[in-house]
């Protein structure tokens, strides 16, 4: 069992390495050969796959560099970087003016993430207008029949107060409109997917990167929620993912951020279902 796991890990390392072995990326990652030290990263959970893979690539080239990646959510990211406990605090939302002035933070957007409205795959409803979604979440539309589905109560699922996904959905799609107080609240994208996959009457929303065959993404105002449409602007419920530092980053941290924002980073970002942000 243990052997098997090690083989898998080695394979993953190999894949990660081979993916980054082009000439241009060799020189890009070459920056790290002359650096050493430690980078601690914490915060937004959507960022973790990108951070981890980048860290692995860098640590493979130079074992003298140690990078740790932790979660905690956007709020934790701000707090930890602000108090100087980590070098990079990730957020899935823009910093508030209060946060920037309190801690003197510098922010680096690096990827675009789309938020998709989703239902159970057995639900015949596949397309909604923005107004219908607003009415459903406000509790005005209570039955699937009213939007062309079977006669069954609509089960609302939303995300917690600290969720960047919720903030994006609420600002960009609901236009800061009300969400019914009866709506169930789940604490992560994973829990949302599970709830939608189990309940044929459910509606909720989650990061496009999390959409697979277990849930059905809703076509919104005739725009499919795909990364391509998010990039072209045809799909509008999107957000930026940010890295934040306290003041100017140290050279090693700066190199890390530049790497993620460069061509090699773009490949990692795309691989995990996000779109590299324009510089």
């Amino acid at each position: 069992m243990f052997e098997f796991r090690r083989i898998i890990w080695n394979l993953m390392f190999l894949l990660a390495f081979s993916a980054s072995s082009g000439y241009a990326q060799d020189t890009e990652i070459g920056v790290f050969k002359n650096l050493e030290g430690k980078i601690d990263i914490a915060g937004g959970t959507a960022h973790i796959p990108v951070m981890k893979e980048t860290a692995e690539q860098i640590m493979k080239v130079n074992p003298k560099i140690r990078i740790t990646v932790a979660g905690g959510g956007s709020g934790v990211g701000v707090q930890k970087v602000g108090e100087g406990l980590v070098d990079i605090g990730n957020t899935g939302r823009a910093l508030t003016p209060a946060e920037i002035s309190k801690y003197g933070l510098k922010t680096f957007p690096f990827a675009i993430d789309g938020v998709a409205v989703a239902v159970n795959p057995n639900n015949p409803v596949g397309a909604l207008t923005s107004q219908q979604v607003r009415d459903i979440f406000a509790g005005k539309i209570k039955n699937w029949q009213e939007v062309g589905g079977k006669s069954a109560a609509i089960h609302l699922f939303t995300r917690d107060e600290a969720s960047g996904t919720r903030e994006t959905f609420w600002e960009k799609l609901l236009k800061k409109g009300p969400i019914d107080a009866k709506a169930n609240i789940v604490a992560s994208n994973g829990a949302m997917k599970l709830a939608l996959a189990q309940d044929p009457q459910a509606i909720g929303y989650l990061g496009i990167g999390f959409v697979d065959q277990k849930v059905k993404a809703i076509k919104l105002d005739d725009a499919e929620p795909t990364q391509e449409n998010a990039k072209s602007g045809a799909y509008k419920v999107t957000r930026l993912l940010y890295m934040n530092t306290k003041g100017e980053p140290r050279p090693l941290v700066k190199a890390f951020i530049d790497y993620i924002k460069g061509p090699a980073g773009a490949k990692i970002i795309q691989k995990h279902g996000f779109i590299p942000a324009q510089k």
């Binding site: 934790v76 701000v78 946060e99 069954a152 107060e161 800061k176 107080a181 169930n184 609240i185 604490a187």
Partner: protein, 299 residues
């Protein structure tokens, strides 16, 4: 030249002093940490009082993005859930203890207690997960208007989680009743059921109170089951099928928000209320208990 006996006496005294000191230290550390927690909670809750947000926080409306920060629905949620879980678990625990102590056949009683012991070792998150996979869809299938994430589903799960605590405390108390008392009861011609009802149960009444306090404290302090199963809607429940949010789940959901926000401040008020409720239940039941055992002695 010292007398050997005296030296030994001296050593014994020294050792006793050391043990006393150690125990005193342990007491001070445990009491101190409880007080420190209370102190920190109070300290962090100061902005609520100094900025005059108290009335706002003690209201029935939680809509943080519309500037409403009332946590009373969560207080109601916590009390409803803990009470329902206790209401289910306590009679069941009494039944199990009765079964194991004379009402049921000995051959089944022992394995039953063994099973209860085993249940204490199951991590809470397992109960929550199994519940999300099996119980929540079951509730939804029976009551299609509900999402399944509900007061009912959470209370059922939570009662299963606190059951071992209650059973084991009552069981320990029943076991402490002197064997001679049992024999005397048997000699007087009491059946096992009569012995349990008229002899063992009254003598173990202290244990019943202790079990109730511990069970309730666990129920109201649980976070993960409420978070995973109860649905977390910040509303006062009207039926068992409504989605509810407990104070603990509220803290877990809000703790990751912007630490300068008022929503974040409200969780320290939640902490204080939780602390207060647990302490109040402890004190109230302890008073009832001393009164009850006092009455017993006078009989």
């Amino acid at each position: 030249m010292p007398i050997p006996g005296q030296t030994r006496w001296h050593r014994l005294e020294q050792r006793q002093a050391a043990i006393k000191g150690l125990l005193l230290g342990a007491t001070i550390i445990s009491c101190g940490s409880v007080l420190a927690i209370l102190g920190f909670l109070g300290y962090f809750a100061v902005p609520i009082f100094s900025q005059g947000h108290l009335a706002e926080i003690l209201s029935w409306d939680w809509r943080p993005f519309q500037g409403r920060f009332g946590i009373l629905p969560m207080v109601a949620g916590s009390l409803c859930l803990a009470a329902a879980a206790m209401g289910l678990a306590f009679p069941l625990a009494l039944g199990i203890c009765g079964f194991a102590h004379g009402l049921g056949p000995q051959r089944l009683g022992r394995p039953l207690l063994g099973l209860i012991h085993f249940m204490t070792g199951i991590p809470t998150v397992i109960y929550g997960f199994i519940s999300v996979i099996f119980l929540v869809p079951l509730v939804r299938n029976i009551f299609p208007e509900s999402t399944g994430y509900s007061w009912l589903a959470a209370a059922l799960t939570l009662s299963l989680m606190i059951l071992p605590t209650i059973v084991l405390v009552i069981h320990a108390q029943l076991q402490q009743v002197d064997v001679r008392v049992r024999l005397a009861a048997a000699a007087l011609g009491f059946s096992p059921a009569q012995t349990l009802l008229w002899v063992l149960a009254p003598m173990a009444s202290r244990g019943l109170w202790a079990a109730a306090v511990l069970g309730f404290s666990r129920a109201i302090g649980d976070t993960i089951i409420a978070l995973m199963v109860a649905g977390n809607a910040p509303q006062v429940p009207h039926t068992l099928l409504d989605s509810i949010r407990t104070l603990t789940a509220h803290i877990a959901l809000v703790v990751a928000t912007d630490s300068t926000s008022q929503a974040y401040q409200s969780i320290f008020a939640c902490g204080l209320i939780l602390f207060g409720v647990t302490a109040a239940v402890n004190f109230a039941l302890r008073r009832l208990q001393t009164r009850a055992s006092g009455a017993m002695r006078h009989d």
